[in-house]
């Protein structure tokens, strides 16, 4: 039932009441009672209406989440079943949103892919030419300094590009080869890779594993995620600091002492949101972590307490 039908019924009842009052010349008390009745009826009908709309909204909200989770397989909700007018209006509305999201997603994906792929070759050409230029015997000291400036910036460009390629790949890969990945093992392997770096910075590492933790996800992405977290714990540690990796209550927690953030912790996972103290950082490491986690059904939380940075991974 629509709003218009309700109003029509209300007018009808009011008319009916007025008619009765006119014909029978009854006391106005009856008109008043009929008016009250009419009011309750309208309220009831409107309440019913809101409920149905709410229910439809819920259904389509779920559909939109589905769309967001799996953008490649978006299906138009229209025509999926015999829809009433309200339903088809809602379906139209959400269908449009869905189509628009899908379109922008595809444009963004294509752009990232093209841009990163097309950039790789010119970057390689610049690097190769510079290295070849460096072999020239006639270079002066200031020439070397200029070349160094170009080189280090080209390298930065290349690293940003590689990180963006990775970000665009996550969406294509999170669904491939999903297996039960033992996070304890991934972490231990990662720690081995970083052993030398930690030693160099005088960082001591403590593992507290109370259980085996596994996530259902792509193994390569799991390795990238854990390695980025550990690398950050080393990077933003204090000299001669420590790292504690805890696995308990189905959570992985990596904590390390460090200076409090200069920016809002909510922006921590944003792309290019680096801390002012570290201009060399690209600010992409944690957004890669966040994205892998989101696509793999994992929640990442950040806490700062008692001078400790804590990053926690848990199943959604």
């Amino acid at each position: 039932m629509t709003y218009r039908t309700t109003v029509a019924i209300m007018v009808l009842i009011m008319g009916y009441a007025a008619g009765i009052a006119f014909i029978t010349n009854t006391q106005s008390i009856w008109i008043f009672i009929l008016g009250i009745l009419c009011f309750f009826m309208v309220t009831f009908v409107l309440w019913l209406e809101t409920r149905t709309v709410r229910w439809h909204l819920k259904v389509y909200k779920r559909k939109i989440y589905e769309v967001l989770r799996n953008l490649n397989k978006f299906e138009d909700p229209r025509g999926s079943h015999n829809a009433s007018k309200v339903e088809s209006e809602i379906a139209d509305f959400y269908g449009n949103i869905g189509r628009q999201i899908k379109k922008s997603f595809q444009i963004e994906k294509q752009f990232t892919q093209n841009a990163s792929h097309e950039l790789q070759t010119p970057i390689t050409v610049i690097k190769t030419s510079l290295e070849s230029l460096l072999q020239s015997p006639n270079l002066q000291e200031n020439d070397y300094q200029d070349i160094e400036t170009i080189l280090s910036n080209t390298n930065k460009l290349s690293r940003i590009n590689q990180a963006l390629v990775l970000l665009s790949r996550i969406r294509s890969y999170y669904n491939d080869n999903v297996e039960s990945v033992n996070i304890n093992d991934v972490l231990l392997n990662c720690e081995q890779d970083f052993e030398e770096r930690m030693e160099h910075k005088g960082i001591t590492l403590t593992n507290q594993f109370d259980q085996e933790l596994s996530f259902e996800m792509n193994r390569t992405l799991a390795e990238i995620m854990v390695s980025n977290l550990l690398s950050n714990a080393i990077k933003y540690n204090l000299p001669d600091g420590n790292i504690t990796c805890t696995i308990k209550e189905n959570k992985l927690k990596i904590s390390n002492p460090g200076k409090p953030l200069t920016k809002n912790p909510e922006q921590l996972f944003d792309r290019f949101a680096r801390d002012n103290d570290n201009p060399e950082s690209l600010g992409l490491g944690l957004s890669i972590v966040k994205m892998i986690a989101e696509y793999s059904g994992i929640v990442v939380d950040y806490f700062h307490k008692d001078g400790l940075h804590e990053l926690v991974l848990r199943k959604k």
């Binding site: 970057i123 690097k127 160099h200 690398s231 990077k235 060399e280």
Partner: protein, 227 residues
Amino acid sequence: MKFLIVEDEPNLQKLISYFLKKEDHITEEATTFKEAQNKLSNFSYDCILLDLNLPDGNGLNLLPTIKESHKETAVIIVSAKDSLDDRVKGLDLGADDYLIKPFHVSELNARIKAVIRRKLFTTEEKGDFGDFTFHFEGRRVEINGKDLDLTKKEYDILLYLFRNKNRVITKDSLAEHLWGDYMDDNYSFDFLYAHLKNLRKKLAKEGVENYLQTLYGVGYKFCIPTN
């Protein structure tokens, strides 16, 4: 040595072939899948540098042919990081090494030398350079017959310098060679400097520190000192 460079980007192809020619190699080029296929059916090469993204096909499909009719040929895949699996696939299909774009020439050089050594000159067990003698199998270095006590990383640095002797190598390329590209900040240089400082001390002890030149913050050069 005869090289086939399969690469569709003309600038990069020219640069690689320029670099290889300077190292006294012979190079031929193919810019498309078809051209590469034709060249492979008519000629033989010692080493192929293979780009995977060719305008008319995937370079991976050339690997079975190469492995069938050119068993002795070394193949190094040089490609953009397009897929997490391509590396595994390429090595499974018989490629000898895999280099991701963008790469450093010094890295390409070191890989070529390592691959060639593995493939063709398996009898080459040591390399001499001035006062230095490298024993590749035992991963150790002698100076005038005296063993140099090196850590694993120090040996890796010296070997990389040796493979690129008489050339300037950048500190980025050295850092990337040692730790891969996940070392994503200036921090990796601190780390590199620490290793180089120790290495230099050890070389100074033997009186050969002037083999290792530092070039104004850009990089290093391993060469026989002139004076």
